[in-house]
Symmetry: C2
Subunit: 163 residues, 2 copies
DNA sequence: CACTAAATTGGAATGATTCCAAAAATCAAT
DNA sequence: ATTGATTTTTGGAATCATTCCAATTTAGTG
């Protein structure tokens, strides 16, 4: 699972960092490679765990910092669902997310370019969108083999469940 | 500022609660009326503060419970932005949200019905969306007097409902 | 190599939200 | 109405993802 960053990805990262006046560091590169190497939607903690495999000295605070940086540089998307820690995925062009209520899985939904353009057109004159987030919740087809897990929330509500 | 719930709204609330097997309580009605009475996007804390004006005995935990209940009943939308407490707004049909990065204000963006229909069409076959969330982040026009959230220590004043 | 600004680090602090167990309120059936 | 079963409310404690902090290390520049 120790996947290095491709030359292309590495350059893309360095460029994006430079563009934002940020430095290229071992940790940033490594966190990015962790995300690129396993394309699901891990939490910061999970990224931390994965990152430590090849870089045991990295700290949780740094993982948070790096993730934040990557999001700022628009190399990574952050998704947050209620009651759950943020999840991160490398930004592979415009896509939405679909959370399957039954399985807790998250699916990437590719968005046609034309639709992305249309999305910003619903804004009244004068609004300038820097980021757009589209997310669905509902039922995904049972047989879909796509990835990712958002653990099902089995926490009982305040009131005890019947029986 | 003490706005009662209209008969229509009250019935709608009671029906929605009944439909979900939940009881109609003073607190739930009051929290709902607080949200309906000032159409911005308050946090739970802000709702708590407003609710206490007319019902000083209500607790923060209850406000959280009520808000959760209202969201479940689909009478209220919950918006959550990174690094910020959830915000709530009464659910007035399909609309997106726009967060102005500079002022922190949230604007409701009306969505044409045709667009709402199109949104669900980006889903691959087999995906059934129960909820869709569209949210923008960026710069809003400075002069827009549209719906905003109220800064914590401002004197409560009448806000004209949007749309 | 030396300097300066930026980044990393571990641990402590934060704060929105949830949990808990007791008290109160609601609803249904007497 | 009264009772009884169930839900809801409540205050305070607990949780836990995330941020903050001050000290150390590192990257980039000349």
């Amino acid at each position: 699972m120790v996947s290095k960053l491709s030359q292309v990805d590495k350059r893309e990262l360095e460029e994006a960092l430079a563009q934002n006046g940020l430095r290229a560091t071992r940790q940033r590169e490594h966190v990015y490679s962790v995300l690129m190497g396993q394309r699901d939607h891990p939490t910061a903690d999970e990224v931390y765990a994965r990152a430590k495999e090849a870089m045991p000295s990295i700290s949780l605070a740094t993982v948070y910092n790096c993730l934040e940086t990557l999001v700022e540089c628009d190399l990574v998307k952050r998704l947050s669902y209620e009651r759950e820690p943020s999840r991160f995925c490398p930004n592979d062009g415009d896509h939405a997310h679909f959370l399957d209520e039954q399985s807790g899985r998250v699916f990437d939904i590719v968005l046609p370019e034309s639709f992305v353009r249309e999305m910003t057109q619903v804004l009244p004159h004068g609004f300038e969108a820097k980021k757009v987030k589209l997310s669905f919740t509902g039922y995904a087809p049972k047989d879909k083999a796509v990835e990712t897990r958002v653990p099902q929330d089995s926490t009982p509500k305040q009131t005890a469940p019947t029986q």
